[in-house]
Amino acid sequence: MPFATAGLGQQFLDSFKFMGNNTSHLLHDTLSTIALSAAALGVALAVTLPIAVWLGHLHRGAGLAIRTANLGRALPELALISIFLAVLGLGFLNVMIALVIVGIPPILANAFTAVDGVDPDVVDAARGMGMSELAILFKIELPNALPLMFAGIRTSALFIIGASPLAAIAGGGGLGEIIVNQASYGFDGVLAAAIWVAALALLVQGLFVLLQRAITPEGLKAQARMRGGKIVVGVGDAERAMEATPSQA
C-alpha cells in the first residue's frame, strides 16, 4: 500500500479527508485517550509522590528509588500490556495498570532527586528557626523542589500518552483503536489517528511547559535570573535525574 497505490501527498490528503468525514469520531476517541491518560497519571502520582517526597525528605533510599525507577524504565509498554493481557484479559483494568507502571519511574526519580537535592543550608536555617519537620517539608523543600518534580510529572505524562495508543490492543479504546485497526478504518484512518495522537502529545507537552512556568515560585525564578541560568527543566534533564545517583544495574 505505500508507494504503489497512491502518491505520498495523496495519502496525507486522504487522511485529512478522513479527519473531515469522521471529526466527531476522532474527537470522541481523543477525549477517551485524554481521560485514560489523565486517570493513569493521577493514580501514578497518588501512589508515587508521597513515598518519593518522604524518602527525599529523609535523604534515605537513594539507591532504592533510582534503581526502581531505572528498572521500571526498562519495562516495554507493549510487554506490560501483553503480560496483563494474559493475567487480566482484555479491558480497562489491564490498560490502567500498564499505563500507571509506565508513568511511575519519572515521577519517582525526579521527586526523590528534587527533594533530596534541596540546599541543606536552607533546610538547616529553617530547622534553626524552629520549624517542624512537616513545615520544613511543605514550606521549604516542596517549593524549592517544585520545578524538577514537575519536570518528572511532565515526562511521566509524555510516557503515558506515548503508550496510550498501544492500550487499544488490550481494549483500552481511544485513538489507538483506529491505529491498530487498519482492517476497518483503512490506512487513511490509521494515518489520521496517528497524526491526531502526535498532535495531542505535542499539545499536552506544550501545556505542561506553560504550567511549569506558572507554578515555579517567584523566588526561584529570581534566583535563576540572578545566576544567569535557567530553571526550565526539560525532558532530557528528567532522564538525567534518573541517572543522577549510582545505579548498579
Partner: protein
C-alpha cells in the same frame, strides 16, 4: 470491526503440541511449548530485536555525537537541536511508525528511522551536558600545559564526559528495546511479532508472556552490560560514583565555591 475478539475467546490452533495439556488449556506459561518454539519463533525474534536495537542506537549515537560536538563548538545550535529532538521524542511511537509509512513503506527502514529519532534527544542531551560539565579549572590547566583545542577535546573533555555519555547510552538502549517491540506493527520482526501474532490470531497466553518477558530480560541484560562496559572503559567513573560523601554535601560545597570565585572575578 474487532480483530481482538480472538483474544476474548481463545481458539487455539494446533501449536504443535496438541498432546501438551498446558497448551491446550491455554495456561499462563507453558514451558514445554516455549522450548519447542524457541528455535522457530523466539530465538530468531530475540536476534532480530537485538539487531534492530544495535543499529538504531549505533546510528543514533553517531548522529547525536556529531550534533553534540557541533553544539559544543557553536552553542547557538544547542537550542534548535534539542528542540527538534524533543519534538521527535514527544511523538507517540505507534503514531510515528504509521506517519513514516507513506514515506518509506512497511520496511525495516521505517522502523529504524523512528527508533533512531527516539534515541537522539537522550543521547544528545547527555553528551552535551557531559562535555559542558567538565570543570573550567581542568580545561585551564590543560591550556596552560600547552594542549591545543583538539587535544583538550580528545584528552580532557571526552574522557571526563564518559559517565554522562554512558548514562545516555543506557537510557537510549533500554528505551529502544522497549520501542522496538512496537516495530512489529510495521515489519514482522523482533519480540513484538509474537505478541502481535498472539493478539491478532491466537490469544495464546504463553506467546504473550514469553515474548514480553524476553523483552524485559533483554532490556535489563543490555543495561547491565553497558554498566560493565563503562567500568571497563572508565574505571575512575565508578569509583567517583560510589563515593561515600552524600551528594547533598558535595552540592553544598560546590555551591559555596561559587560566590568566592565571583568575588575574585569582580
Amino acid at each position: 470491526m474487532h480483530l481482538l475478539i480472538a483474544a476474548g475467546a481463545p481458539v487455539i490452533p494446533n501449536f504443535g503440541g496438541a498432546s501438551d495439556k498446558c497448551a491446550v488449556n491455554n495456561g499462563f506459561f507453558c514451558w514445554n511449548w516455549f522450548t519447542q518454539h524457541w528455535g522457530s519463533t523466539f530465538g530468531p525474534a530475540v536476534v532480530q530485536h537485538i539487531v534492530l536495537t544495535v543499529i538504531a542506537v549505533g546510528i543514533g549515537f553517531v548522529i547525536a555525537f556529531a550534533l553534540a560536538l557541533l553544539a559544543y563548538r557553536f552553542s547557538v545550535l544547542e537550542t534548535p537541536i534539542s528542540g527538534i529532538s524533543s519534538f521527535l521524542y514527544t511523538i507517540p511511537s505507534l503514531a510515528l511508525f504509521q506517519i513514516l509509512v507513506p514515506f518509506t513503506g512497511l520496511t525495516r527502514l521505517t522502523v529504524e528511522i523512528a527508533l533512531v529519532s527516539y534515541t537522539l534527544l537522550l543521547l544528545f542531551r547527555n553528551i552535551i551536558t557531559g562535555l559542558r560539565e567538565v570543570p573550567e579549572d581542568v580545561r585551564d590547566a590543560a591550556r596552560g600545559m600547552g594542549l591545543t583545542q583538539r587535544q583538550i577535546l580528545l584528552r580532557i573533555d571526552l574522557p571526563l564526559a564518559v559517565p554522562a555519555i554512558f548514562a545516555g547510552l543506557r537510557v537510549a538502549t533500554v528505551t529502544t528495546i522497549s520501542l522496538a517491540t512496537v516495530a512489529a506493527f510495521v515489519v514482522d520482526e523482533g519480540l513484538g511479532a509474537p505478541i502481535f501474532d498472539a493478539i491478532s490470531r491466537s490469544g495464546f497466553k504463553t506467546e504473550f508472556v514469553a515474548a514480553a518477558a524476553l523483552a524485559i530480560l533483554l532490556a535489563w541484560v543490555a543495561d547491565f552490560l553497558l554498566v560493565a562496559l563503562q567500568r571497563l572503559v572508565a574505571p575512575w567513573a565508578a569509583k567517583r560514583r560510589s563515593s561515600l560523601v552524600p551528594r547533598s554535601v558535595v552540592r553544598a560545597i560546590r555551591g559555596r565555591r561559587r560566590p568566592i570565585s565571583a568575588v575574585r572575578e569582580a
